[in-house]
Assembly symmetry: C2
DNA sequence: CTGATGTCGACTGTCGACAATTTCTTGACA
DNA sequence: TGTCAAGAAATTGTCGACAGTCGACATCAG
């Protein structure tokens, strides 16, 4: 039945929406660090492990490429993206730009109801802010706050870009191996953002976000540089 | 510097694979309006026409999808993207955010030399600003100015996002069928931007760009709404 | 020992065929 | 005449195969 000689980290699949499922599996494996940056994604090996043909694997890989997790080199194949410290820094710069802009739109236009879901998410953040909880879970909760805030801006384009940036951010943080700050600090530093949004205070919103992301940027890129030779 | 001992070296032999060639062809056809928004991109038909198999066509289509020109519906296939007036408006909002941010970085950090290429491009813009010149050419010249400005910011991420937004913008403008303003006006309105950049004046830069793109946004979305049922 | 050249294996690029799904057609029936 | 269901046609989804390309290693001249 199974091929016992496959060092597969994957389980076989059914028959519907293959491409998306393969993409999700691979994406998960990359984010979780099972596949390390720079390592090769062999179409044939993955296809064999998953019990599908190369075609859907290939399409999934191209999907992941467009979401920034995978790097494609013509005639060589797909590799887990290896993000440089410089790229990471550029990424954070863009996050600041996007999130500040989106937040300002929230300040100006979003109904109060939309802010409630942010409050909930801060609760969720506190709930998982403990050293016992999986680091990925904590990071997802963090990202979810930002995701909701940006969604509240009402421009799906901001959300689309953020989703991509978030995935790459996660990839980098997981490479570092630990969160970029004290778990509790992460939860706390979201509060001023929500407060500023509620007060409809543009200046406070801008500085709260610039501080929050700026600190993360500082911490993460610093750690990240240590891992580069 | 150069290697003088290489008597005759050859051009890199542009031999990109089928996928890229197909993608370029299709992209061109879409931008030029040969394929109208909403129309189906049949894999088999395109493959037969181009004398290739469906595989590279499919991959090319997915590439175009990730660059926003094509819309993919599972089990139904690929269609030329039909952008709504609302999406177009959101798109312009993002362009303002990106371009203002990039320009501010240019103001703060870019060397004067980088601004020269912008001057050249304004010359090019004037050169093609005539009713005799192909409308697509004019638009490309316009976009090229913005592209160079953003490239001067030094953050490739801004450029990547802009490239995508630019393609979609072109698609919309070509749908309208004529430029969004007097050709000469388009050239003129770039001058204040360059002036502000040269003067390293953040406020002037911001307002010049907000005005320029804001006007385009107003004109294009207005025209675009007329075409919607 | 060093650097260039030949060979080999593994992988990607592309293809044609078949299965699954959607869409179109048609005709029965109220 | 309009509706709907069943079958036909067309299109996408997936597959296995083969050819083209790349990188590594062995081989050989200097």
């Amino acid at each position: 039945m199974d091929k016992p000689d496959s060092p597969a980290h994957f389980s076989p699949l059914g028959r519907d929406g293959l491409v998306d499922r393969v993409a999700n599996l691979l994406g998960e494996a990359i984010i979780r660090g099972k596949l390390k940056p720079g390592s090769r994604l062999s179409e044939s090996v993955i296809a064999r492990d998953l019990g599908v043909s190369r075609a859907p694997v290939r399409e999934a890989a191209r999907l992941l490429e467009s979401s920034g997790l995978v790097d494609y080199q013509p005639n060589r194949g797909f590799f887990v993206r290896k993000i440089s410290a410089r790229e990471l820094d550029d990424l954070y710069e863009l996050r600041i730009v996007i999130e500040v802009s989106a937040a300002l739109r929230v300040v100006r236009e979003a109904p109060d109801a939309a802010l409630e879901t942010l409050d909930d998410q801060i609760g969720e953040l506190r709930r998982v802010s403990s050293d016992e909880v999986d680091m990925l879970t904590q990071m997802e909760a963090d990202m979810e706050f930002h995701r909701r805030m940006i969604a509240a801006s009402g421009n799906p384009r901001f959300s689309a870009i953020f989703d991509q940036l978030a995935k790459e951010t996660e990839l980098c943080v997981m490479v570092i191996g630990r969160l970029y700050g004290d778990p509790q600090w992460i939860a706390d530093t979201h509060v001023p953002i929500l407060d500023a949004l509620r007060a409809r205070d543009e200046t406070a919103t801008r500085s709260a976000i610039e501080y929050h992301i700026g600190e993360a940027r500082r911490l993460v890129t610093q750690q990240f540089r240590l891992l580069e030779e």
